[in-house]
């Protein structure tokens, strides 16, 4: 294998210590960055390192985080899902609208079926018809946006009796001192982590994402696996819609606009490779939390709301750069 060492060689970075950190960073870098962040923010703000504040952040990231869990599985399987943002709009509008018409439980059931159906369409197009996932889900993004508007007639929807309904449970209640959205987010994270690392299904997802041809040659039904990842992704969107609808008790038609790329930012920040075949939902949880703590910490430190986006820009690139650089063994490429 000596011949395959690629461009490693001349003009090597002469910092062996940095390299060692780099290699460890490949696995633990994101956790390290996370801890550094927490410490930095704690130093600059007294209120940052408090239980209340931490639980606020968890609650804030729960919507993006829950969707990011599903998207992580799609990405590990070697695909992208850009339709989750408009799917979230659709799902939230539907569950809120139906709540007053047929009651919370039937509303949830029908919304679940409708959302999963959209996931199935994604899954059929990408899995069974083998179309490029970026373009398919881009098209679905637009189509679902339209569907949402057709469904609502362009009107915003809301729940009239916000105090009486048990639907408030998903977005507003606490269990054992922890917010229900946080329970949903972390609960799904644990379940997905176990599924991905301990079951045959999880292994299949990694195999298909790592090399779909080899997976098929090993008797893994690739199309079904890809299909299932999109169904899972749509399920997480449904869960996020419950949190969002219940928290706001209403919904705008474009409430999920732009979520697809923020979610992806969390997934990437966690260290899941867009190439597929590697990654983990735990990393994604950390990636999403970093996004949340950046926002929270900067606000506490008195910066404007939008400053977090600038920091996010820098952090995403630094995080992936660290990853790429440690695999390469040098900071910069030598490409001419």
């Amino acid at each position: 294998m000596t011949t395959d060492t690629g461009e490693v060689g001349e003009r090597r970075l002469s910092l062996p210590a940095w390299r060692d950190i780099g290699h460890g960073a490949q696995r633990q870098g994101i956790l390290l960055a996370f801890i550094v962040f927490l410490i930095l923010f704690s130093l600059f703000s007294d209120r940052f390192a408090s239980w209340d504040n931490a639980s606020t952040v968890f609650r804030q990231v729960s919507i993006i985080g829950t969707i990011a869990l599903g998207v992580t599985i799609v990405v590990i399987g070697g695909n992208l899902d850009l339709s989750v943002g408009s799917m979230l709009s659709f799902s939230t509008v539907m569950v809120v609208d139906l709540h007053d018409k047929i009651g919370p439980a039937p509303a949830m059931a029908i919304t679940l079926v409708a959302t999963l159906a959209i996931g199935c369409v994604n899954g059929i197009l990408v899995g069974f018809l083998k179309l490029n996932s970026l373009i398919v889900t881009l098209g679905m993004l637009s189509a679902i946006q339209g569907l949402t508007l057709i469904y609502s007639g362009g009107q915003n929807v809301d729940i009239t009796d916000q105090e009486a309904t048990w639907f408030a449970f998903f977005g507003r209640d606490f269990v054992l001192g922890i917010a229900v959205p946080t329970w949903i987010f972390l609960g799904l994270a644990v379940v997905f982590h176990i599924v991905l690392t301990r079951t045959a299904y999880g292994r299949r997802v990694f195999a298909v994402g790592g090399n779909k041809t080899a997976a098929a040659f090993s008797g893994i039904r690739r199309a079904r696996v890809v299909f299932s990842t999109y169904v899972i992704s749509s399920f997480t969107v449904f869960c996020a819609a419950l949190i969002l609808g219940s928290r706001v008790m209403g919904s705008q038609n474009n409430v999920g606009q732009g979520y697809e790329l923020l979610v992806l930012a969390g997934v990437i920040l966690g260290g899941t490779s867009l190439l597929g075949g590697s990654g983990s939902v735990i990393k994604t949880v950390i990636g999403v939390l970093i996004l949340g703590f950046i926002q929270n910490g900067l606000l506490l430190m008195g910066y404007q709301y939008y400053a977090q986006w600038l920091v996010t820009w820098v952090v995403i690139i630094l995080a992936v750069w660290l990853d790429v650089a440690s695999q390469r063994g040098r900071l910069f490429t030598t490409t001419a």
Partner: protein, 323 residues
């Protein structure tokens, strides 16, 4: 003489009519038959003016995508350039403000390109970060305010006509011709295909791939900024949310036009077809009084159908293993 002839022949060699034009024409014919006013000169001018914004960005995006990269930050750059060009008018004058706007676009393109080149991080991720960050810059600069153009010449420009066509349509068509020439007849354009088609081969052949990519990111940055400025001349104002989701619309138009996401294949002529297809659909359905909601569904469906047909046509049939 022979030299011009050869050049013409070569323009033709690379100007295979992409299949999207069939669809574009079919749409045009359909709407001409179904509505009274689609085929009117005034309406056709409208379409050109309406599509010029996405169209300009799509020209730059085509180059970057043929080159094997992607730029998700164009929508945010639209807002930044528009805000700067409108917001700085009263302080430094209209023309300097426009140049600052364009400069910001080119500069951000340079930053994106340098990061992609030097760090080796995928362009999708780099520009996704930039999309978020630049939008933050816009909000910080504008303090969430919309700006209105104080210079009436600025907003007049957006509505003006030249030789019977809207000036903005001229701008779009002029740059389309220029970019077509760039991609088919210049060494830089041909190298873009080489780098996108086989990066290692291009490197081994001594093409300076990194520099080349940076130039292309600057080109798309320029076009995004220009689109932002022309859009704000039409509105006579800029808003911090300007250009949201433009990256998605642009990619849709470019992909409809036949440019491959993997790079190495595509054309400006195809992109023009894709841009016009979207413009004609929107305009025609509007004339038929189909609510805008349905247009979104239909556009999404068409994108997927085009992808499906493309796959069926290009598939080697029985040669492919079923997996």
């Amino acid at each position: 003489m022979t030299k011009t002839l050869a050049t013409l022949q070569n323009l033709r060699r690379f100007t295979v009519i992409p299949p999207i034009w069939l669809f574009t024409l079919a749409c045009a014919i359909f709407f001409s038959l179904m509505t009274d006013n689609f085929a009117e000169i005034g309406n056709l001018k409208n379409i050109l003016q309406q599509t010029s914004t996405i169209g300009l960005i799509a020209l730059g995006m085509t180059v970057v995508m043929i080159n094997g990269n992607i730029d998700l930050s164009v929508g945010a750059v639209v807002a930044l350039a528009a805000s700067l060009a409108v917001g700085l008018q009263s302080e430094i004058g209209t023309l300097p403000a426009v140049f600052v706007g364009l400069g910001a676009g080119i500069g951000l393109g340079f930053v994106n390109g340098m990061i992609v080149w030097k760090t080796g991080v995928d362009a999708f991720i780099v520009t996704l970060g930039a999309m978020i960050g630049v939008r933050g810059l816009v909000f910080l600069y504008t303090q969430e305010q919309s700006f209105f153009a104080m210079d009436f010449a600025y907003s007049d420009f957006g509505m003006s006509q030249f030789a019977g066509l809207p000036t903005l349509a001229w701008v779009f068509l002029g740059f389309t011709v220029l970019m077509h020439w760039l991609m088919t007849s210049t060494v830089h354009g041909r190298n873009a295909y080489a780098v996108g088609g086989n990066r290692d081969a291009a490197l081994n052949a001594g093409i300076r791939v990194g520099r080349h990519m940076v130039v292309n990111f600057m080109i798309v940055g320029f076009f995004a900024a220009l689109a932002g400025i022309t859009l704000s001349t039409q509105m006579g104002a800029s808003t911090p949310n300007l250009g949201r989701e433009y990256e998605l619309w642009t990619i849709t138009a470019v992909v409809l036009g036949g440019t491959k996401l993997a790079g190495g294949a595509g054309s400006i002529v195809g992109t023009l077809g894709g841009v016009l297809a979207i413009g004609i659909l929107r305009n025609g359905m509007n004339l038929m009084q189909v609510p805008a909601f349905y247009v979104l569904v239909i556009l999404g469906a068409i994108l997927i159908i085009v992808l499906f047909i493309d796959r069926q046509v290009n598939r080697a049939g029985v040669e492919e293993v079923k997996i």
